[in-house]
């Protein structure tokens, strides 16, 4: 990351940032966490239901009380005072403590769940055992490390969501958006899939399915065991499988065309949901340098190519060769994938060529040639698809992207790299949505005539690291693939310059080098 520049303001002493009520609230929250920690070190709580309830209420309630104490007696408005003075939010000591703790938690969660108390065949111990009562209540079975994680994740979005709503209570867009992410996390990601597990029996199993978690973010959705389960679960399973495909090819493109990728990234998505709520205090830490943008474009699109290859290989590996048994054979599948990719590639180059930057053109051509030649190579030579075994590809993706990138780096490093590192550099879903948002969507952020004063609040508080000011001070619309439409740039603008809008495609990308306010003839002359 960029070098740490000791700001001159750090010479001064920031105001006391935490009042008595906030201290008490923090204490309650920490006591709640301490219960979890004690369970983790194998203290066996007698009445698990009671202790778990108390712990979760203390954590959630402590957070909410803290927020009420922090914002309740303040005016409605922007609350960024002292953000760069506080250790936790300016990469200070506490930021590193939190970052390292979160990272360790993710490492244990992904690779050493036994330390959380997970017991494969037998009764859970430790932290996982503490969550058994809740798991049994919801899905009928005992808890897993993922159940623990899912519960805490949902609690975080709920409690910090309420904090965010209090912080932005003057801003209806922010409030509605936060109600929405809380709803989708609590309902779609947590309660519905848990309750769906209850339907499972010896003869009928549905895979754990968060309906809003769409491929390729949900990179495992079309793996053999899941597809088998979907198909064996009869009409319901088939409906879910079809929904999974429809959401990629129909629902997503329509909504993204109408509203931009924000409908997903900052209104629905769970990763986005955590970033917008628990991650909000760290949004300004995203790297705004142009070099970061350049890296971002290559990394995120490489992940997308990786996931396409991996999924193609995995699906290919379990399809049959005999078209008389089932119409979707290995060959039909490969040809369809090649056809879809060619159609997208050709369409983009025919209609949107002039909107692509040079490196985007090179990247697109390069990746397209690689994928198509791998498919062609396989088709004509019959060798292993993409040179690697499908299983190897799947495992590498799951490890590198699914675990390390989205979990450890994506969330563990919130206090260091900002809240949207995963969404910006890694998420293949964001890459697809962003691609469409940039080229084929009604969404844009408009600027208000010549009112920009280049202050930099918009760029600073952009969690995606977009240099919003660079556009605003030129009077240009902001049409960037990475923009998740969180609306904070518009909220923090002191001069009312930015507005998120859906509008016609004509003149969407409109550059006015001479801003409004000056001689009309001069403007016409320069804009020629």
């Amino acid at each position: 990351m960029s070098t740490v520049q000791r700001n001159m303001s750090l010479a001064g002493e920031p105001p006391k940032t935490i009042n008595t009520q906030q201290k008490l609230a923090s204490a309650i929250g920490l006591i709640g966490l301490a219960v979890l920690f004690l369970a983790l070190v194998n203290i066996n709580f007698p009445n698990k239901t009671l202790w778990l309830t108390a712990s979760l209420i203390a954590i959630g309630g402590g957070t909410v009380w803290f927020s009420i104490a922090a914002y309740g007696n303040k005016h409605e408005g922007i609350k960024n005072d002292g953000v760069y003075f506080k250790s936790l939010t300016s990469k200070g000591f506490w930021a590193w403590v939190l970052g390292i703790t979160l990272t360790l938690f993710y490492v244990v969660l992904y690779w050493f769940p036994q330390y959380l108390g997970l017991v494969q065949d037998g009764d859970n111990k430790g932290l996982v055992a503490l969550f058994d009562p809740l798991s049994k209540f919801l899905n009928g079975g005992s808890a897993s490390q993922w159940f623990v994680y899912g519960t805490l994740y949902t609690l975080a979005i709920l409690a910090f969501g309420i904090k965010f709503i209090l912080k932005y209570r003057h801003n209806k867009y922010e409030k509605l958006r936060t109600y929405s992410v809380i709803f989708f996390q609590l309902g779609f990601a947590f309660l519905i899939p848990e309750l769906m597990q209850r339907l499972n029996s010896e003869s009928f199993t549905l895979p754990y399915y968060d309906l809003k978690n769409i491929w390729p973010l949900n990179y495992y959705n079309f793996e053999q065991y899941r597809v088998d389960q979907f198909i064996s679960a009869g009409d319901i399973g088939l409906a879910l499988l079809i929904f999974g495909i429809v959401s990629i090819f129909i629902i997503t493109p329509i909504l993204t065309y109408k509203y931009g990728k924000r409908w997903y990234c900052s209104w629905v998505c769970g990763c986005g949901g955590l970033a917008e709520t628990a991650g909000d205090p760290f949004r300004h830490l995203s790297d705004k340098r142009q070099i970061a943008w350049r890296v971002e474009r290559w990394v995120i699109h490489s992940v997308l190519v990786f996931v396409v290859l991996m999924t193609t290989a995995v699906v290919h590996s379990y399809l049959g060769d005999d078209s008389s048994k089932y119409w979707l054979t290995k060959d039909v599948f490969l040809i369809s994938v090649a056809a879809i990719l060619t159609a997208v590639f050709a369409g983009t180059f025919i209609f949107k060529r002039e909107e692509l930057q040079k490196d985007a053109r090179y990247g697109a051509i390069g990746y397209f040639v690689i994928i198509i030649s791998l498919i062609g190579f396989h088709y004509f030579s019959g060798k292993t698809l993409f040179l690697f075994e499908a299983e190897t590809l799947r495992q590498s993706y799951g490890f590198l992207i699914g675990a390390v990138f989205s979990g450890v780096i994506g969330v563990g490093f919130y206090p260091i790299f900002g809240s949207r590192v995963w969404c910006r550099f890694g998420c293949p879903m964001a890459a697809i949505l962003g691609f469409q948002q940039r080229l084929f969507s009604r969404f844009r952020i408009t600027t208000n005539g010549g009112q920009c004063i280049s202050c930099g609040n918009c760029s600073t508080y952009c969690e995606m690291g977009i240099d919003v000011r660079a556009y605003a001070q030129k009077g240009e619309n902001i049409v960037r693939s990475s923009c998740v439409g969180c609306g904070i740039c518009s909220a923090v603008c002191p001069r009312g310059v930015l507005k998120l809008e859906n509008g016609p495609l004509e003149k969407r990308i409109d550059s006015n080098e001479i801003l409004l306010g000056n001689d009309v003839d001069l403007m016409n002359f320069v804009n020629k």
Partner: protein, 433 residues
């Protein structure tokens, strides 16, 4: 290669430089004694408040200057020798130019009060002022109370800054409402109430008499003209700004309050131009004051002058007046002219609407004879520059503007709309009148 030298790296100078670079291959040097790189002066407050770091208020990354071949020189110009087209720097060194652009900006305007030289007395215009404030008012132990003299844009910014560190603030405002030499009375009163609600001790009809010292060269208190002594350790002087032209005293460049320029932004000396806060129009343009110390006008002068320098002579011909500010939590935008009570034109009538929340209001100015729309002040509701610019150019009637007010709304999605309330007040009032 022609050498363009620009004194000042503020918005005016840097805009001129950027546009000259776009249009030409000339050699460009930007001189500043204040800061290494261009920064947004209007954002100084956010650094003290901890919203941003210094480098966040710099609009361009550091590679930008080299990439665009804009040479930066950190130096203080002491004298300008127009005969030999040479600048002399403080501490030695000279630089010759082919064309000179002076964009030296403003300094704090003071009124010769006793005690101005004391430690703790300062304005808030420059980077150095920000550093001084950090030193003078790091927290409320070192600085339990500050007194701000003057009720204008810089004054309220300074109050907001100090309040974020829980420092008690007393504001001495000569008029009976905040910024009421510019704002109509009802607007000014609403902003006054808002400032008070943020814990500022706002004193209307109150003037500074002198600043008292503690015997060691520091501020101890101020004395108002009513004879009240207010203890404080910082005195913010925010009674406006004036052009920074002291270094031109012995030059042949003609000055008055500012550097006198014609509409092409030329001074009396060939190849010497002045733009931004330091320039003074020989003939005021429309209702505009001859010296305009506003971010936007600095930028617009830079845009116009760049064309002239590159062989397309353009007059500085600003369009409709506009401006903006933020008073604590209340955003303000203005388009066209809305005058305060003291400056009200004889043909001007005003319609005022205020939201029950006391956080939003709109004042619309129109010609009472022709009904032509003249301008709008909007507080707490964002409105579109483009739409008002068009309506002003089209000389729309006030009825048309109010009827179509919705078109101008620029608030974020899902925000409550107030147009109906405004319309019903306006049309009821018209019927009754």
């Amino acid at each position: 290669m022609e050498h363009i030298v620009i004194i000042g790296n503020g918005i005016a100078g840097v805009t001129a430089a950027r546009h000259i670079r776009k249009l030409s291959n000339k050699k460009i040097t930007i001189i500043s004694a204040e800061a290494d790189h261009f920064f947004s002066r209007t954002a100084l407050m956010y650094v003290y408040m901890g919203h941003m770091r210094w480098r966040d208020i710099e609009p361009y990354e550091h590679w930008f200057w080299e990439k665009n071949r804009l040479e930066l020189k950190k130096a203080y110009v002491e004298t300008v020798d127009t005969n030999n087209k040479t600048l002399h720097f403080k501490g030695g060194g000279t630089l010759t130019y082919d064309k000179l652009i002076i964009a030296s900006g403003s300094v704090t305007n003071t009124f010769g009060w006793e005690g101005l030289e004391l430690n703790g007395v300062q304005g808030l215009v420059t980077k150095q002022d920000l550093e001084k404030l950090e030193k003078n008012a790091p927290n409320n132990k070192e600085c339990p109370r500050a007194v701000i003299v003057g009720g204008g844009l810089i004054g309220v910014e300074m109050a907001e800054m100090l309040r974020t560190r829980d420092i008690e603030v007393t504001m001495l405002v000569r008029e009976d409402g905040f910024w009421s030499n510019v704002l109509p009375k009802q607007d000014a009163e609403m902003i006054s109430r808002h400032i008070v609600s943020h814990g500022v001790d706002l004193r209307h009809n109150s003037e500074l008499d002198k600043i008292l010292d503690d015997g060691k060269g520091n501020v101890r208190a101020v004395l108002t003209k009513d004879g009240e002594e207010i203890p404080c350790s910082v005195v913010g002087i925010t009674t406006g700004v004036k052009p920074q032209i002291s270094f031109l005293q012995h030059s042949k460049i003609e000055t008055d309050k500012g550097i006198l320029v014609n509409r092409k932004l030329e001074t009396n000396i060939e190849d010497v131009h002045a733009i931004g806060d330091c320039a003074q129009q020989r003939e005021p343009i429309g209702n505009r004051p001859p010296v305009e110390a506003v971010w936007y006008t600095g930028r617009m002068m830079g845009e116009a002058l760049a064309q002239t320098i590159c062989g397309k002579p353009f007059e500085y011909n600003p369009g409709n007046w506009f401006n903006s500010a933020k008073f604590f939590d209340i955003e303000y935008q203005t388009y066209g002219w809305v005058f305060s009570e003291s400056k009200l034109k004889d043909y001007e009538a005003q319609f005022h609407w205020k939201c029950a929340s006391d956080l939003r209001c709109v004042t619309i100015s129109y010609n009472k004879n022709s009904n032509e729309f003249l301008g709008i002040n909007t507080f707490g509701i964002r409105m579109k520059h483009e739409v008002f610019d068009k309506w002003l150019n089209e000389k729309r009637s006030v009825d048309y503007v109010i009827q179509n007010l919705k078109q101008a709304n620029f608030d974020p999605e899902f925000y409550r709309k107030y147009e109906k309330e405004i319309q019903s007040k306006f049309f009821n009032q018209s019927v009754n009148a």
